[in-house]
Structures are given as structure tokens and as C-alpha cells.
């Protein structure tokens, strides 16, 4: 009986319930993008049930009902995900328990628990997204949850304005602490590997290329890379961001065996000598000159869910987890599931030179052709070869063929079985992939080692060349051929058809066709384009300063702030602001608790009291000035007359409102030094 009574007393009032539901909805809403939608439905049912309980129409669910509910949602999770140890099922589990908590939301303790869970769930949002809108939303969530916490205090503080106000004030007060913690909290590596969501569709350039792939990409204006240079900037026609090399052709599709698996066994070429860039770069130092022209830049790559990275030719990166391959590309140790920043140095090929010959296996790999198909192209190649032309001349002949009679278009006609033959000799309309594919095929048929390179080309300057924005529609495919004595040489067949594509980008090369399928042709409005670039820049800075603030940058910042990072300086750095803040608080409290300032007369009289106290006779609390004066007269007769005069002056000033008396009191006090007086008296007594 007593327990039920106490439970009734601690039952949640209406306001506090509504606040909890508001906080829950705010937290759950963005999660519906990643988590199954039925979760929101479950939440609505749970909330409805709880509200019915509140109105007294329904009982709190019994143990059986709860058990059934738990079984149902767990079954739902299992059916949705079919595996446990990944990020999303875990977050979903958290969200589900959060949802089910509603049907046993009884006491204040339950309410606090639910709100604490809400904080946690709001934080998990950042596992998925770290962009500015999400950050703003996250802050909003925290404000609402905190307001809900405030509202638990009772009726008056549950009013929306007041709860939100208190919450905002609390959080504003927490901002300095947050900033300090952001700077100083050690950035630990993850304690366990967070299982990445590998099911997410990979975006951007894939591990194979078949006709039509790149024209798909050209429809997307999503950012792919953001590149900021430190020092020299390559000219536009050199901005080939190499991502992937395709060496295998099956008649229709170019691909790279093993690329999608993260290159576990890529031991060809230079990579077996270089291995990881974990820090000892002796292999690469031998290869790449320590001095000389090179480009230094940082690339921020959007999540692609593929392991390959993008860089100019002959790249080298010191960033942890980044590895070079034998094909002069960079790969990351895992698929890039979130934005990734990496530093690269690149040496232009023509400066490095590569006099090594091509190994037999490499030769085989780069001359591979399907056994049959595309006979006309093969015949054309053989004819050139039999004319006695060397590799460069064959390439020239092919390029001038392109130049003469080919059309660059985003909407090429569909190709049949012999894609190269049809493109070269009948349709003659194509996109970069068609040119690259047919070029490499023909060169290989002529006996020249060649390969297709996929990546991005070009980019758009943002904000006075602060960084280069490369979008998905900048995706490009080109070719590389092996020339004895010169090594791999880049050949871009597209350039011979549409040089403006290389110089000015896709938009000018395919003016009418560019982004034709877009819902709104926003790219045609200069203002909107500028606005979008501005927004991209804000995003870039956000990422640069906040999201990518890792342990290295933290150390750099601290070093800049403190000179050197020692525990003493750290303690000073953290302690000093805290101390200052506490002192300010103390002073403020002192000032605000003093109340109105004392009138002048009272202050003067208190000075008199202090001097008397030093002379050994202090005023008792509650003793009136008159009584005190009489006591002084009695106990220290020498000071008596003066004390009486001062007291009467004070009484006149403070209680009779006599302005003259205040001046008199001041004058009297100036000559009243009881200690000195008594010392003089003692001295004169001795004489």
C-alpha cells in the first residue's frame, strides 16, 4: 500500500511527460534517415499508450505485455539487419530501448533516465553525419533535452519559455568549458574498430568502368574532393587526380582485379618495396628526389565507401593508413566511410623519370586483351604497326583520327557487342570513357603497354583560390602508355576532341547537355552558383577546424598556444581560465550580495568602530551608538569625550538628517586615532 502511494506521489505530471516526448521526437527524427522507419511507428505507439495511461484509460503494461513488446522489436531488428555487430544495428538497439522505456515511464527517475539516454542518442547522430546542419540540429536537440530536464523541476519551470530560456542559459555557460575541452581533451584513437556500414552504396568512381558509367557521374554535382595547395599550384591541364588504374578488359568492361577488396595482395611494382608509409620512408626516398619541384597539397575526400584515394601522378603521402600502390595511386587501409583528409606530395613524372623497364608480368598485364572481338580496331592497329610506326606515332595517328571526325557528347548512342569497333568506326560520338577505352584497346592491339586511368580532372576554385573543389561531374577517364625510356606517359584522348573539357571543365565542354536532368537548372544562375560555392567553403572550413581536429592538429595548436606541451603548461592553460572564472564569480557574488551601499555617515561610523576595536574595545552587535559611547566613557575614559562627540555627530548625521553633522563627523574622525592617542598618553605618563 505504502509503495503504491509513494509511486503515486512521484508520478510524472503532464508537462514533464510532454517535454520528454518532445525531446525524444527531436532526437529520433533525424535517425529515421538511417534507421528503419518502423522504429518511429513503435515510438508513436509507445507514446500513445503512455498518454492513455496518463488519462487513466489504460493500465501501465504488465510484465507480459512488456515482454511481448521487447520480443517484437528485437525480432524487428533481426529481420531488418540480420547481423548485430555493426554500427547501425547498435544505434537501432539504443533507439529501440529508448522507445520502449516510454511504456514504463513512471517516476522521476525513469524520466531522468530517458533524458540521459536522449543525450546519448543525440550524440550517436554524429557517427553518421558531421556536417554543419547536423551539428546545428544536434545543438538544438541538446537545448530541448536540457529544457526537458529543467521542466522536470515542476510547474513553473515547465513553461516552454522559461524551460528553454534556462536551458539556453545553462548551455551558454557551458560553452567556454566546451571550447577548452575541445582543445585539450586527448584525441584517443578508437578503442575498438567501429564496424563501418559497408552496405552503403559506394559513390564516385567504382572499381570497374563500362560505357555509360561516367555519364552517370556527370549528372551529379556533389563534391568529391577539396584540395588546398601549400605552395605551387599545377596548371589546369595538369590537374589529373588519379584514383584507379584499370588494366583488365573483358570486351565491354574495364576493371582492376582486387581493387575492391582493399588490395590485400597488391605486391606488384614498387609497392612491394615501399610497403606502408608508417614512417620509414627509405624506399620512397630512394625513388623520389628529396629536393626539386613538387606539389604539396591536402585533399579532403568525401565518403566514397571505396578504399582508393586521389592524387596527382607520382604521389607520396605521410598520412597514417595511406599506402602507395605500384600504379602510382594511393589507397586507404579501409573503405573511406567518412570524410578523410590526407596530405600528399607529388613529383611530376617528367621530372622524376623512370628508366626501369617493365617487368614481364607488368608487360603481360598491360597488354591483356580479350581473345576475340573488335576485329576492325585490331586490324587498324596492326596496320599502323606494320607501317613501322613506333608507339608515339601510333598514338599520334589515333589521336588525330579522334580529332578529325569524333564528337564529344554526354549522351552517346548505345553500343552493341563490339564496343570499340562501333565507337571507332560507326557512332563516333562519345564521352571520356569511350575515348579512353578505345584508345587503350587500340594501343594494346598495336603492342604498346597501355592502361585506363580513372579519377577526376580539373576542379573549381573557391574563395580566391583557397581550395579547389572537385565535384562528381569532374570524374574523368584517360589513358597511360608505356614508352621505353620515359616510363608511363599520360595521354588524354578526350583532349584531342574537346580540349575545353580539360581546360575549362565539363560545363563549358558540354554546355547544353550539362546537368540537363537536374530538377532545377540552378547551375545556370550565377548568383546561386556563387551561393553554393560559399556554402561549400563554410563546410570546408567547418571540416578543417572542427571535424578534422585530430591529435596531430591538436598538438600543433597547443604547441602554438603554449610553446611546448608539458604537463605544467597544460595545467596552467586549463587552470588559469578556470581560476580567473572562479575569481570573477566570487567578486560578482560578493558585489551582488552586498545590497545597497551604506550611507556615508554609517561608513564613517563603522570606521570609528574599527579603530576603537583596534584599541581593544569593539562594539557588540546590536549595541546602539549611544550605549557604545557610554561604555567607552566607562572603560577608556581618555577616549570618552571624543567618542561621545563622534557618536553624537553620527546620530545627528544618520538619524536627524543633519548634513553639517556629516562633515563634522568626518573632521572628528580625521583626528581620532585611539592607538596613537593611548601611546602618546603612555609616553607622557612615563615622562
Amino acid at each position: 500500500m505504502s509503495s503504491s502511494v509513494s509511486q503515486l506521489q512521484s508520478l510524472l505530471p503532464r508537462e514533464s511527460l510532454l517535454w520528454i516526448f518532445a525531446a525524444q521526437l527531436a532526437v529520433l527524427l533525424p535517425h529515421t534517415m538511417h534507421l528503419p522507419v518502423w522504429l518511429l511507428g513503435a515510438w508513436i505507439i509507445a507514446v500513445y499508450w503512455r498518454l492513455e495511461v496518463f488519462r487513466g484509460r489504460r493500465e501501465m503494461p504488465g510484465r507480459m505485455a512488456k515482454l511481448v513488446a521487447v520480443c517484437l522489436v528485437v525480432a524487428g531488428l533481426v529481420l531488418t539487419y540480420r547481423r548485430w555487430f555493426a554500427l547501425e544495428p547498435m544505434v537501432a538497439l539504443l533507439a529501440v530501448s529508448f522507445t520502449l522505456k516510454n511504456i514504463e515511464l513512471v517516476s522521476r527517475r525513469d524520466a531522468l533516465l530517458s533524458l540521459m539516454l536522449a543525450y546519448f542518442l543525440a550524440a550517436t547522430l554524429f557517427v553518421f553525419e558531421q556536417t554543419i546542419p547536423y551539428a546545428v540540429y544536434g545543438i538544438g536537440c541538446v537545448v530541448i533535452i536540457t529544457a526537458a530536464l529543467v521542466a522536470q523541476q515542476g510547474r513553473r519551470s515547465a513553461r516552454p519559455g522559461r524551460a528553454l530560456g534556462v536551458s539556453a542559459k545553462l548551455l551558454a555557460q557551458a560553452v567556454p568549458v566546451m571550447l577548452i575541452l575541445f582543445v585539450v581533451i586527448p584525441r584517443l584513437g578508437p578503442l575498438w574498430a567501429v564496424p563501418q556500414n559497408t552496405k552503403a552504396a559506394s559513390t564516385g568512381i567504382s572499381d570497374s568502368m563500362s560505357p555509360g558509367d561516367f555519364s552517370e557521374l556527370s549528372k551529379s554535382d556533389k563534391p568529391a574532393l577539396r584540395i588546398s595547395f601549400d605552395g605551387a599550384v599545377p596548371p589546369p591541364e595538369q590537374r589529373y587526380w588519379r584514383g584507379l588504374v584499370y588494366t583488365h578488359f573483358d570486351g565491354r568492361r574495364w576493371s582492376e582485379p582486387g581493387a575492391a577488396d582493399g588490395y590485400p595482395s597488391w605486391g606488384r611494382g614498387r609497392s612491394n618495396r615501399r610497403a606502408y608509409n608508417g614512417g620509414n620512408g627509405d624506399g620512397s626516398e630512394r625513388e623520389l628526389p628529396a629536393v626539386g619541384p613538387r606539389y604539396r597539397y591536402q585533399i579532403i575526400q568525401e565518403a566514397s565507401h571505396n578504399p582508393w584515394l586521389f592524387a596527382l601522378a607520382r604521389p607520396h603521402s605521410e598520412t597514417r593508413g595511406v599506402r602507395e600502390t605500384g600504379d602510382d595511386t594511393l589507397v586507404y587501409r579501409t573503405p573511406v566511410g567518412a570524410r578523410l583528409a590526407y596530405e600528399v606530395r607529388s613529383w611530376p613524372r617528367e621530372l622524376v623519370g623512370d628508366s626501369e623497364g617493365l617487368s614481364a608480368s607488368e608487360q603481360r598485364r598491360n597488354l591483356q586483351l580479350p581473345a576475340s572481338g573488335n576485329p576492325r580496331a585490331r586490324a587498324w592497329a596492326r596496320a599502323r604497326f606494320e607501317e613501322g610506326l613506333d608507339a608515339e606515332e601510333i598514338s599520334q595517328a589515333l589521336l588525330s583520327l579522334y580529332n578529325r571526325s569524333f564528337v564529344y557528347t554526354l549522351k552517346p548512342p548505345a553500343l552493341g557487342a563490339d564496343t570499340v569497333d562501333e565507337f571507332l568506326f560507326s557512332t563516333r560520338q562519345g564521352f571520356c570513357e569511350h575515348f579512353a577505352s578505345s584508345y587503350v584497346f587500340t594501343m594494346r592491339a598495336a603492342g604498346v603497354p597501355a592502361r585506363v586511368v580513372a579519377g577526376y580532372q580539373g576542379g573549381e576554385w573557391v574563395e580566391q583560390q583557397e581550395y579547389l573543389l572537385v565535384r562528381q561531374y569532374d570524374a574523368h577517364a584517360w589513358a597511360e602508355i608505356w614508352l621505353p625510356g620515359r616510363g608511363w606517359v599520360r595521354v588524354d584522348p578526350t583532349a584531342s576532341v574537346a580540349p575545353e573539357r580539360i581546360r575549362d571543365g565539363l560545363q563549358s565542354a558540354a554546355a547544353e547537355e550539362f546537368m540537363q536532368d537536374a530538377f532545377l537548372p540552378l547551375h545556370k544562375i550565377a548568383f546561386v552558383t556563387r551561393l553554393r560555392l560559399q556554402w561549400d567553403m563554410i563546410n570546408y572550413r567547418w571540416y578543417q577546424t572542427v571535424v578534422s581536429f585530430n591529435s596531430e592538429r591538436q598538438e600543433g595548436l597547443l604547441r602554438r598556444l603554449l610553446g611546448e606541451v608539458s604537463s605544467l603548461r597544460m595545467a596552467l592553460f586549463i587552470g588559469t581560465p578556470m581560476l580567473v572564472a572562479l575569481l570573477l564569480l566570487l567578486v560578482w557574488l560578493k558585489l551582488s550580495s552586498r545590497g545597497p551601499a551604506l550611507p556615508v555617515a554609517s561608513r564613517l561610523y563603522l570606521r570609528f568602530c574599527r579603530r576603537m576595536a583596534r584599541a581593544g574595545l569593539s562594539r557588540n552587535p546590536g549595541e546602539t551608538p549611544g550605549d557604545y559611547a557610554r561604555r567607552i566613557e566607562q572603560e577608556q575614559p581618555r577616549l570618552g569625550p571624543m567618542a561621545v562627540r563622534i557618536t553624537s555627530a553620527y546620530e545627528k548625521a544618520a538619524y536627524a538628517g543633519d548634513a553639517q553633522a556629516e562633515k563634522q563627523l568626518r573632521r572628528l574622525l580625521r583626528g581620532f586615532w585611539p592607538l596613537r592617542l593611548s601611546a602618546q598618553a603612555r609616553a607622557s605618563a612615563r615622562v
Partner: protein, 303 residues
């Protein structure tokens, strides 16, 4: 004016030996237009004080001995049918006097007590639907036996509040008692007292009380005293606004008696025990002790 006041105090002092402080308090209470409750054992001179006060101020004086079978009409008066005129005529009760001594008020029933107390508060009496004003000035001195005595009806707190002051006379000093033994006859002295002031003069004195200046510093002190009484965990019930006003008014009268145009903290402290003593309550402790403690805890100047 000051001469008159000191003469009044001296005159009463001849009758009530060695009780100058209490006499002044009683006078201050009268000047502040309040009523006085004297609480003491029988034979301490309560009646003498009231009588002397009435005589020296030239007030009409009546005395009522309260008993347990008294009815309100015994105090307020009754309408009696007169056969010769064929009409009801109102016979005024003892309450229609300028100074009423209500002796041993706690011996009467609550009904009678409250009839008197209402008259004290309203300064008028309503009988048979007719409102009759009481004479001006109207001053009640009630005496009360300490509550331990048997056969008494305790005055409830709300009614205690009607009295501006509660004082007790206490035993006389040794000198005063010796003088009594040596044959000074207070009764004879009492008969010799001549009025020092008339009704007009008394009214003037009472109006002078309101003109005594209370400075901001003093009001601060008063405020802190009142706040302390309300907030201190020792006091179950603090001073009401009426109590605070009473304190200020009584202190003004006290300052006037001491020939001052402005209030000093001493004035507040002098009247505080008698004004606040019966208004403060606590569990177990006497109100007077609370006041003593309060005076020592609240400083004159806010530190």
C-alpha cells in the same frame, strides 16, 4: 512641552516609586494612541499606575473589575425601557470613558473580552444597530494575572495584538520599598496629583508623535529587525506589518518623551521588548527572551 512631560513623569513617579521606565513606557503607549496591557502579580501597583496616569492627564477614569460571569453589556452599556418616557434609553457602560482600567481582563469569558477588544480597535461601539463613538482620547489599560494562575481565560494571540504594549511592573527596588515601609502613602500622594494637561494639550502631544523624524538608516534597522523576526528559525511567528508599525509608532512616542525630534536606535530598542514581546511566538521560549536575543543579533548598521 518637554516640561510638561517630565512633570507628568515626576508626578507619577511620586506614586509609583522607582518605576520610571515603566511609567515612561505607559506614557509613550498613550501618546502613540495605543492600549496597554500590564501583566503582573496582584499588588504590584498596576491599579495605582492607571489611576495616577488618569489623574495627571486629566482624563475621565473608570475601572472595571472583570469576573467570569461578566457579560458584554456590563462593559458596553444597555438600552433600558423607561416607563415615564415610554422609550428605550441607552445607559452607557464603563467603556464610555477616556481611560478605562480593565482589571484582570483574563478572568472574564472570551465573549466579554472580545467585546472590549473590539471597542478598543474600532474606538466606537455598536449597540442596537446604533453606532456610538467612544470619547477621545480613549485609552485602555488592561491588567492581567500571569497565566499560571487558576481560573483565567487566556487572551488569544489575535487579541494580544490589539495591545500596543505589554509591560510588567515587577517588584519595587530596595529603596522604593524602604520608602514604602517608612510611611510614604501612595494613596495620599495620588489624591494630591493635579492634572498637568488638558484634553487639548494631550491631543497636541499625540499629533507631535507623528512628526518625529525617522531617517533611512533607522528604517533600515527597523526593517532588519522585522525581517529577522520573520526569518529566524527561533521565531515561529514573526512581526506582522501592524506589529512593525506599532514598533515605529511607540519608538516615536518614546523619542518625544525624551525630547528628541528624531528617532535613534535606542528608542527602538527601548520599546522593542514591550511592543514585540507579546507578538512574537516560539516553541518553549518566552517572547521577551526572543526579543533580547534579537536585539543582540541584529546590528544597528548593516555590515
Amino acid at each position: 512641552m518637554q516640561k510638561i512631560i517630565s512633570a507628568i513623569v515626576a508626578d507619577i513617579g511620586k506614586v509609583l516609586l522607582g518605576k520610571e521606565h515603566q511609567v515612561k513606557l505607559a506614557l509613550a503607549c498613550l501618546l502613540a494612541r495605543g492600549h496597554l496591557l500590564i501583566e503582573d502579580l496582584p499588588g504590584m501597583g498596576k491599579t495605582t499606575l492607571a489611576h495616577a496616569l488618569a489623574q495627571v492627564l486629566g482624563l475621565s477614569y473608570k475601572r472595571v473589575q472583570f469576573t467570569s460571569d461578566m457579560l458584554p453589556a456590563d462593559i458596553l452599556g444597555v438600552s433600558i425601557f423607561e416607563r415615564e418616557s415610554g422609550q428605550f434609553r441607552f445607559h452607557e457602560g464603563p467603556v464610555f470613558s477616556q481611560l478605562l482600567l480593565a482589571d484582570e481582563i483574563n478572568r472574564s469569558s472570551p465573549k466579554t473580552q472580545s467585546a472590549l477588544l473590539e471597542a478598543m480597535e474600532e474606538r466606537q461601539v455598536s449597540i442596537d444597530g446604533e453606532t456610538r463613538p467612544l470619547p477621545e482620547p480613549f485609552f485602555v489599560i488592561a491588567t492581567q494575572n500571569p497565566l499560571q494562575q487558576s481560573g483565567t481565560f487566556v487572551l488569544p494571540e489575535s487579541q494580544l495584538d490589539r495591545f500596543l504594549m505589554r509591560i510588567s511592573l515587577g517588584y519595587p527596588t530596595r529603596d522604593a520599598e524602604r520608602a514604602l515601609f517608612q510611611g510614604v502613602d501612595p494613596r495620599a500622594q495620588l489624591a494630591q496629583i493635579k492634572p498637568r494637561i488638558n484634553g487639548e494639550g494631550l491631543r497636541k502631544l499625540q499629533s507631535l508623535v507623528g512628526q518625529v523624524k525617522a531617517s533611512d538608516s533607522l528604517l533600515d534597522y527597523l526593517e532588519r529587525l522585522v525581517q529577522h523576526s520573520r526569518q529566524s528559525p527561533e521565531c515561529a511567528v514573526g512581526l506582522s506589518p501592524r506589529g512593525a508599525l506599532a514598533l515605529l509608532h511607540a519608538a516615536r512616542a518614546w523619542a518625544l518623551i525624551h525630547n528628541r525630534g528624531h528617532l535613534l536606535p535606542e528608542d527602538l530598542q527601548a520599546v522593542l521588548p514591550s511592543v514585540a514581546g507579546h507578538r512574537l511566538q516560539s516553541d518553549g521560549t518566552d517572547g521577551t527572551q526572543l526579543v533580547e536575543r534579537m536585539m543582540h543579533q541584529v546590528d544597528i548598521i548593516a555590515a
